[in-house]
């Protein structure tokens, strides 16, 4: 284990998610939680106890779950449709495309335990394609918060935003990174650390690893900027362009396949605006072997040392 944060200071962002959802539901009767028998894994037990009528558990039926969400939205409700991200986005992708994205319904898709959070349960339960699938659809902002403060802010933002949203949430413990009371802005990256030699772009459970990598690099005399890019669609073009212009190299890190995710979204901006050397870290186009999420992230070169090593290699390609 290469993460230096003590386990006691790592937080499961699902708690921030449901805490915020319950606080919003307290004052807005239109907020409904919809789930697929995932009351426990989505941590919706408290919501159910407080508002049993507003917790719609459709059973193990994800296609119906998303359709029901679209229908509730048509009827004026604000449904937060919660399920393990692998089943929400994989099983119900056509419902997400037609009923949510194309119909442009006010459905909040909440992919719980995304990425490789289910670690040892294997690739059937990994959700490392969801950035690619959902960001290919018009109308749906794709958001992966990095910590408690950003999760709270993103859930609040989603509730007041009129339209579909995909919130990609994790259960893997992360430290606090953003300040309490953080305000989420769609499509705006947060520069968590400035630097001049290269930029590391990350989100979700990778952001704190990127910060740790920047520290490793600093000790080696390399100045790395770190961008927390919670919004994968619409991507923050200005922040990417500034990173290319001002640091000349970009390394992306994501708990997702390198095909079509955060790295691809950043690269799409880079190639069209200011081509600079890039390296995309993520799951390298394979079904992951057995292991916990943190083990697999290390395995795929995304320990702080791994990220720092890739950054140093990338530096050599700078003109």
């Amino acid at each position: 284990m290469t993460i230096s944060v003590p386990p006691a200071q790592l937080y499961d962002c699902r708690d921030a998610f449901v805490g915020t959802l319950e606080a919003l539901a307290q004052t807005n009767n239109d907020i409904i939680a919809v789930c697929n028998d995932s009351v426990g894994s989505s941590k919706l037990g408290g919501f159910r106890d407080r508002w049993p009528d507003r917790l719609v558990n459709v059973g193990i039926a994800e296609q119906n779950m998303v359709g029901v969400g679209a229908g509730l939205a048509n009827g004026g409700k604000i449904p937060f449709v919660c399920a393990a991200s692998c089943f929400l986005t994989g099983r119900a992708l056509e419902q997400i495309k037609a009923d949510v994205a194309y119909t442009n319904t006010n459905v909040k898709l909440c992919g719980i335990s995304s990425g490789m959070a289910y670690g040892e349960l294997g690739p059937t339960h990994h959700s490392i394609e969801d950035f690619a699938w959902i960001r290919a659809l018009p109308n749906v902002p794709v958001i992966a918060p990095a910590d408690r403060a950003e999760t709270i802010a993103a859930v609040k933002w989603s509730a007041q935003y009129e339209g579909p949203v995909f919130l990609r949430l994790s259960r893997v413990g992360v430290p606090d990174l953003l300040s309490e009371g953080h305000v989420f802005e769609l499509g705006k990256a947060n520069m968590l650390r400035d630097g001049t030699d290269l930029t590391i772009v990350a989100n979700g459970v990778l952001t704190h690893r990127a910060m740790a990598a920047a520290q490793v690099l600093a000790e080696r005399g390399i100045s790395a900027r770190v961008l927390n890019m919670a919004t994968v669609r619409p991507i923050d073009r200005d922040a990417v362009l500034a990173a290319a212009n001002e640091t000349g190299a970009i390394l992306t890190c994501e708990e997702h396949t390198v095909y079509g995710g955060l790295g691809s979204a950043v690269a799409e901006v880079v190639v069209e605006t200011r081509p600079v050397p890039m390296k995309l870290l993520g799951v390298p186009g394979i079904f992951a072997p057995t292991g916990s999420a943190n083990f697999l992230l290390d395995e795929f070169g995304m320990s702080p040392e791994g990220i720092a090593g890739s950054a140093a290699e990338l530096m050599k390609k700078k003109a």
Partner: protein, 272 residues
């Protein structure tokens, strides 16, 4: 509106639909002819809707899950006043908002962007739940094809509707016994529907889906079964009203020749 008045409107919708499909050179005329009487009864007798306020919160909802018969829906919406009647001539033309499947974001009166089959009923379940949560009395109707009932998502929704006692939800199955390439019986014979839906906890009624009096009666608010969602198995004919199309699987999305068009139009006019 009386059944005989509804029959006149349905005949007009059939003729306008036939003309639109003939002029566009594409469409799903067989299934449009089978569902026209159902749509006519819904829009001109059953649904509490106002074309001037297509987003009124307390309107009744109709989801045409068999979205490939969009042309029949467009003509019906035009007759009802949701869109201009002369806009039907743009059906399938470049940039027309009337494409091959309905789009809620562009066409007033459309409730969901259907097309992929098996989507309408889950959406209808969510709509009916929203009304229940608000203790509102607006109703939700979903029209599916019969071949479409082969989609597993429909059965997920059927279970949920019964579990949540959605007696404000009505599913109408346009049971014309033909799917795109063959008869249901020769493909995946999901019929008979009534015993299956009853086993899943629904109230079921079977009607002649071209009998306006029967359709009107069974969709009346008074016909609601408290605590149970309602399924109407509407026995229909693909290509209804046009002799050479009727009950012929070839007319799923075939386009009539000029001679066939004239004959079809003549038959519909003579039926008035």
């Amino acid at each position: 509106m009386t059944p005989s008045e509804l029959r006149v409107i349905a005949n007009h919708i059939r003729r306008r639909d036939l003309q639109a499909v003939f002029e566009a050179g594409a469409g799903h005329i067989g299934g449009e002819m089978s569902v026209t009487d159902i749509l006519t009864a819904l829009y001109f007798r059953v649904l509490n809707i106002d074309p001037a306020h297509p987003d009124a919160p307390d309107r009744d909802r109709l989801v045409l899950s068999k979205g490939h018969t969009a042309c029949a829906l467009y003509v019906t919406l035009a007759e009802k006043g949701f869109i201009p009647k002369d806009e039907i001539s743009t059906f399938l033309k470049p940039h027309s908002r009337l494409n091959g499947h309905p789009n809620r974001t562009k066409v007033p009166g459309v409730e969901a962007n259907t097309g992929p089959l098996g989507h309408g009923l889950p959406i209808g379940v969510g709509m009916a739940m929203a009304a229940k949560l608000d203790k509102a009395d607006w109703r939700t109707f979903v029209v599916t094809g019969d071949g479409e009932m082969q989609e597993g998502s429909n059965w997920e929704a059927i279970m949920a509707a019964a579990q949540f006692n959605l007696d404000n939800l009505t599913l109408i199955i346009d049971h014309n016994r033909l799917q795109q390439g063959a008869r249901l019986a020769d493909t995946n014979d999901v019929a008979p529907f009534a015993p299956k839906l009853e086993a899943f906890g629904w109230a079921v009624e079977e009607i002649d889906g071209h009998d306006m009096a029967a359709i009107s009666a069974v969709l009346d608010r008074g016909a609601i079964t408290p605590g149970k969602p309602k399924c109407i198995v509407a026995h229909t004919f693909k290509g209804k009203g046009i002799s050479f199309m009727t009950d012929d699987v070839a007319w799923h999305h075939k386009v009539p020749s000029a001679d066939q068009y004239k004959q079809a139009m003549r038959e519909l006019e003579e039926a008035l």
